[in-house]
């Protein structure tokens, strides 16, 4: 009988443990996270906040020159490698205060209930920002993203080693003559590029048949690829070491390789470059509401823009920036004085992926094949 009572007790306790696991799994995920005290309502004064701001940023954007005159302790930076990766990580439970994604994904962040709107009245520099970019960062009238930087995505290639042919084209990514010297970005945007190569009308929202064709193209072409880069520092390292001659890149890499003395060209392909706008979003339930706004304001300043343009060859959303300090060839090459260059038909400004999940799945399969 004692044995019975032991077994019964043990069963009871095991059952309770299993039940606890069941309760845990049935728990709603932490939007109303019980571990954070402050809600998303703006707290009174900045002194009540802890001040250790956590920013989820692209590598290279952690430099203090980009948030000049931010009066508080320097934030702690963790690095994101792509919008998909950032979205996945924060959805999985990583909790920064601020993230720096591109505008085409804001709707996904809102749909996953991960972010809260900014209060533009707290940002002194807000009124100087480009109006169409501001509008792009709004969902249902709420300002979810403070637009800050913009630029292109295209091919960077060694002009002294690579002959792109009569017309420059994105198909250089698949060129067998340079097998082993090509690097792609580890991101579904490669599918968009393949879609433009195929001539599809809207590669940001392809049909099943179009997706199947693009998937096939990329899987076939994978053999010419040396590696898929996740962080642009990896890619720049390989490029500078002469291992890679053709790569997916943003203007900052072109400018950096140029300054290293390499003979590089930032392609303007027949299909048209891709373009993007990025900015800051505010994570829900952040403890540092006021600090976050101060940080965003610092980024939105004209000084930040001048540094960004001169050093990274990206555009900045602040329209009051004087371009006199910036090398004119840079301004001309990237039309830095004219943000309308981002739009059709001169470039393909990124759009929200209605089938983002499917694109992600297909990209994962392309990698696994």
């Amino acid at each position: 009988m004692t044995l019975d009572s032991i077994s019964r007790r043990r069963l009871l306790i095991l059952g309770a443990a299993a039940g606890a696991a069941g309760i845990l799994s049935g728990c709603r995920r932490g939007q109303s996270d019980p571990t954070t005290a402050s809600g998303s309502t703006p707290t009174g004064s900045i002194e009540t906040e802890s001040g250790n701001l956590k920013v989820f940023e692209w590598a290279g954007y952690e430099l203090p020159e980009l948030y000049p005159d931010y009066p508080y302790d320097a934030p702690k930076f963790t690095f994101m490698t792509s919008d998909e990766q950032a979205l996945a990580k924060v959805a999985s439970g990583f909790r920064p205060d601020i993230v720096h994604p591109s505008v085409g994904y804001v709707r996904d962040w809102v749909d996953l209930d991960l972010i809260q709107p900014w209060d533009p009245s707290l940002l002194k520099n807000f009124s100087d920002l480009n109006p169409s970019m501001i509008e792009a960062g709004q969902i249902d009238g709420q300002q979810y993203m403070i637009p800050l930087d913009w630029g292109f995505s295209s091919i960077l290639y060694r002009a002294d080693k690579v002959d792109p042919g009569a017309t420059e084209s994105f198909s250089l990514f698949f060129d067998e003559r340079y097998a082993g010297r090509i690097s792609w970005w580890d991101n579904p945007w490669m599918m968009v590029i393949a879609g433009y190569v195929r001539g599809f009308s809207n590669p940001w929202d392809m049909t099943d048949e179009e997706l199947a064709m693009v998937k096939g193209d990329l899987i076939d072409a994978k053999k010419v690829v040396r590696n898929l880069w996740q962080s642009q520092t990896d890619m720049e390292t390989d490029f500078a070491a002469d291992d890679i001659w053709i790569t997916y890149a943003w203007p900052a890499s072109w400018w950096a390789m140029n300054n290293e003395g390499l003979d590089v060209t930032y392609m303007d392909p027949a299909e048209g470059r891709l373009s993007w706008v990025e900015g800051l979003i505010l994570v829900k339930d952040t403890e540092n509401y006021q600090h976050a706004h101060a940080f965003a304001n610092a980024w939105a300043s004209p000084q930040s823009g001048e540094w960004l343009i001169s050093n990274y060859a990206y555009g900045h959303a602040n329209t009051s920036i004087s371009l006199d300090a910036i090398p004119p060839e840079l301004v001309k090459l990237l039309s830095l004085d004219d943000p309308s260059v981002l739009d059709e038909p001169r470039s393909h400004i990124q759009q929200w992926f209605p089938r983002r999940v499917l694109y992600g799945q297909i990209w994962s399969e392309i990698k696994a094949a």
């Binding site: 032991i6 077994s7 845990l24 799994s25 049935g26 728990c27 709603r28 995920r29 932490g30 996270d33 019980p34 571990t35 956590k54 702690k76 963790t78 690095f79 999985s92 439970g93 990583f94 909790r95 920064p96 962080s231 520092t233 990896d234 390292t237 070491a241």
Partner: protein, 270 residues
């Protein structure tokens, strides 16, 4: 015996194979150490002169020191917990009778054969479902699961060799079970306890896979190391810290081994 197992020329062949394998095993480690003293920033031949600069730079690398501190904290917390739980588990397996012992043993050892990727994602799912944000505590919890089997594997054999008559004598003298454990059993298995703590510590400190899924904004040392592999000009520093950590873990493992042997002598020569 040697004549039966192997012939003369065969013996020399085996010796050569042994030496070759030993060289194969240690060469990369030695190359690592060698290039940590290299003056140049790339690991290429020929060596460009020797320097200890990279080692000196380690002391001013805040991110590195921070990551070492984080890893040490996680390792200590998880190892202590794992040893405590391991002692409890071992006591129950060796000194107690109950149904389903083999199942419990299986569960206790199962993390050893579980692919760490799956362990990582399963805990990510758990913490996500429970709304627990990722932090060093989530990593610590995972590391207890990872290291518990090691402690059990070390403690159970030791415990089973402790003479029960000692414990029974203490109990006959009126000592309650807890006292018996603390006064009699524990001192006898102490070397194994120490050894299992050291092994758990080393395993947790170096663990990358599970940590990579569960870490918050404080990087552990392996994660920091991983992130530095992208920067070629930081390679020599990485090599320097790698050498230091290799030596340290080497020493710790030797200590654990010595501690176990010492424990064995004590048990036998009691």
């Amino acid at each position: 015996m040697s004549d039966i197992a192997i012939s003369r020329p065969g013996l020399w062949g085996l010796r050569a194979l042994f030496a070759a394998t030993a060289i194969f095993l240690y060469a990369p480690i030695l190359i690592l150490v060698l290039f940590s003293f290299n003056r140049g920033t790339t690991a290429v031949f020929p060596i460009q002169g020797l320097t200890t600069d990279w080692y000196r730079q380690l002391f001013t690398n805040h991110d590195l020191i921070e990551s070492l501190r984080t890893s040490a904290l996680v390792a200590v917390l998880s190892s202590v917990t794992a040893v405590l739980l391991g002692v409890l588990m071992s006591l129950s397996l060796v000194r107690r009778r109950f149904l389903g012992k083999s199942v419990v043993t299986g569960v206790a050892l199962a993390p050893l054969v579980m692919p760490y990727v799956v362990l990582g994602i399963s805990l990510l799912i758990l913490f996500n479902a429970a709304g627990i944000p990722l932090s060093i505590f989530t990593v610590t919890i995972a590391h207890v699961v990872v290291t518990l089997p090691f402690t059990v594997l070390i403690l159970v054999p030791r415990l089973s060799r402790v003479d029960r008559s000692l414990e029974e004598a203490a109990q006959d003298l009126g000592a309650p079970p807890a006292r018996t454990f603390l006064a009699v059993t524990l001192p006898l298995i102490l070397p194994a306890v120490v050894s299992s703590f050291l092994i758990a510590f080393v395993v947790s400190f170096d663990e990358y896979v599970v940590a990579s899924f569960l870490v918050g904004d404080r990087a552990t040392y392996p994660i920091y190391l991983f992130s530095q592999l992208r920067f070629p000009n930081r390679l020599p520093q990485v090599l320097a810290v790698a050498t230091v950590m290799l030596v340290v873990s080497f020493v710790i493992v030797l200590l654990a081994e010595v501690s176990q042997r010492f424990g064995e002598q004590r048990l036998l020569g009691r």
